[in-house]
């Protein structure tokens, strides 16, 4: 199960099995989408499957996630989503009203972000052989002019910008499962980050070195991957991390680290130091980017790892997550 949770085990599965057998030796660092060049015509392509329980939660639902997730994977690879195909795997007995609501949610999300859903496939499996509904979306996009994303271009002194508060989605889902007698005024942050990425590209295009949407495994996992790919150290300042009080409270109670919690509407970017202020200002002025912050910078050490400076002058290493975050009680 840990192999699907987005952390260390997932990465090992991709690097150890999929990359060598499917992608051949040409594969570089693992990005969110593949950029291909067909005789001068450049496209980006990505795919993602969505398995969420419960199907709907405060702030969104699986259908909305399925559209936004793929749009975001393309956006942080430096591409604007243009078209998408959808595959549904449905469990026999799923109420039609549930399916209809999700299809509607997908349509709305697609229109909002300006992507065309141009085809799809449906499979129904026996009752008990799937958990109500799985959605896979595959998206293609056009490169956003003027930006190039490559972890190898990251340099010492570069700044790390986070688009907004973290942990809202993961904690919302945890609470929405209803297993915890905990309530909080929280909503999933699911949204398309494409508008913000475009704002960033316009303001600081040449300064952008790397982007990633910190979904499963959270900010800690995304930045650990970056640290490994660029062989430099990522140093974060805990003081600068935007986290809503409700998320912080739930994490305190359950023994979780907000840095490990999933997000569905935020992105991280590394920009050259000379572009950092411009990039941040542009994001802060844009709708939905008001809470963006510079959360840290790239240093020589600790090479290949992420270090968090605590509020008191201490520090700790933050590793990738192993498996899903589990609450600690005793």
């Amino acid at each position: 199960m840990a192999h699907g949770a987005g952390g260390k085990a997932s990465r090992r599965l991709v690097e150890g099995l999929f990359a060598p057998l499917l992608f051949g030796s040409a594969s570089g660092p693992l990005g969110d989408a593949a950029h291909l060049d067909f005789d001068g015509t450049k496209i980006a392509i990505t795919t993602d499957s969505f398995v969420v329980k419960p199907l709907t939660f405060p702030g969104g639902s699986i259908g909305e996630l399925a559209v936004n997730g793929t749009v975001n994977d393309l956006a942080v690879s430096g591409a604007r989503a243009e078209a998408m195909v959808v595959t549904y795997v449905l469990e026999a007995g799923l109420p039609t009203s549930v399916l209809e609501a999700e299809v509607r949610a997908m349509g709305n999300a697609a229109r909002k972000t300006g992507v065309i859903i141009s085809g799809g496939d449906t499979k129904v499996v026996e009752h008990g052989k799937a958990d109500s509904m799985y959605i896979t979306t595959t998206g293609i996009g056009r490169p956003i002019p003027g930006i190039s994303i490559d972890p190898k271009s990251v340099r010492r002194g570069d700044k790390i910008i986070l688009s907004g508060p973290i942990g809202d989605h993961g904690i919302t889902i945890l609470l929405a499962r209803g297993e915890l007698d905990l309530e909080a005024d929280l909503r999933s942050d699911t949204r398309s980050v494409l508008p913000l990425v475009e704002v960033l590209a316009k303001a600081a295009g040449p300064g952008i070195r790397w982007m990633r949407d910190p979904t499963r495994g959270g900010v800690a996992t995304s930045l650990n991957e970056l640290a490994r790919d660029c062989r430099l150290g990522i140093v974060l300042s805990e003081e600068q991390l935007p986290v809503h009080d409700a998320v912080r409270g739930a994490c305190e109670l359950l023994g979780l680290d907000p840095l490990h919690i999933a997000n569905e509407g935020q992105f991280l970017t590394v920009v050259g130091p000379e572009y950092a202020d411009t990039a941040l200002n542009a994001l802060n002025l844009a709708v939905g980017g008001e809470e963006a912050k510079i959360i840290g910078e790239v240093r020589e050490q600790p090479a290949g790892a992420v270090l968090v400076k605590t509020l008191y002058g201490g520090s700790r290493i933050v590793d990738m997550l192993v498996g899903d975050p589990l609450p600690r009680i005793c």
């Binding site: 085990a9 023994g255 400076k309 201490g314 700790r316």
Partner: protein
Amino acid sequence: MKFVDEFREPEVITRTAEEIRRLADPGRHYRIMEVCGGHTHAIYRFGLKDLLPTNIELIHGPGCPVCVLPMGRIDDGLSIAQDPNVIFAAFGDMMRVPGTTGSPLEHKARGMDVRIVYSPSDALKLAKNNPDRHVMFFAIGFETTAPSTALTLVRAKEWGLHNFSVFCNHVTIIPAIRAILDSPDMRIDAFIGPGHVSTVIGCRPYEWIAKNEHKPVAVSGFEPLDILQSIVMVLRQLKAEEAEIENQYKRVVPWEGNRAALGAMAEVFELRPYFEWRGLGFISQSALRIKDSYAEWDAEKRFVVPGVRVTDPKAAQCGEVLKGVLKPNQCKLFARECTPEHPIGALMVSSEGSCAAYFNYEHRKTEMVISISSVA
């Protein structure tokens, strides 16, 4: 956030750290054991070691219930849940703890009905909502969680709910501290006492540590400031050559403990003659079992339990690390065969275990310092 932020105020923390540096005699090496795994976790998470002078060494104690649970007990619990009618319910803490044939989470992936619950009463609710199934709650923890297990059993009896049982692994903290103090290679100057356990048992049960063993104890909360203040307390005592029990966590811990909680435990539990602790071996009168008057809800009596004993690999030096003789990274297996993903020894299992905490938060930091100094 109330009761959190005021104990994380950077300025107060800096002042307290300065006080520690003033009190610590540079010619002396201090070895202070924090008994509780929650403290270990907080020390690493907040980077508190960076604030202490190098002659103050924090030794991580046995207070991590997941870490000290022998693998055989997990195997026994899982073997009961092989019956498809049984739902295995446990805290999230237990889910990744490996038995010989895998962790509860791995068994779940293979089809076992494993549920994460947040309290024993959630497990009882599960039993009420699934009258055709049997719900077995795999209970772990010190006196912190034992009262809620006890109250749940009292309620199960009141409700006459017969499809519920508890596989009891509750342990008690005092015998473990005694075992560490009795150990011939023990070298500890003072204790930071467990905060959550003390909300139930109070401070009195520690008095012998001061009186007979002449070691200071400060019962401590879990915020950065709590832990630093507790270090100040024991340093002051050591300087004055005194040994007393001090209660730093007064906002939560009553000196006499929680009578209602102790009453519930006395109603349901009795001491086992002996119990095996991972890393420490058998300790007499160190764990709780369910009394005969609650036998119907005792999984060990209702089901056939194989009673498996699994010894840890000889190379794992958990006992030495637990007693503070070795640092986590001095164990031969640390970060080689034994990692949080594939724990071999007990202390790598839970994130509150000293080896896992060291691995997650400290290990590569040390490497970094070494690599920087080797460059210089």
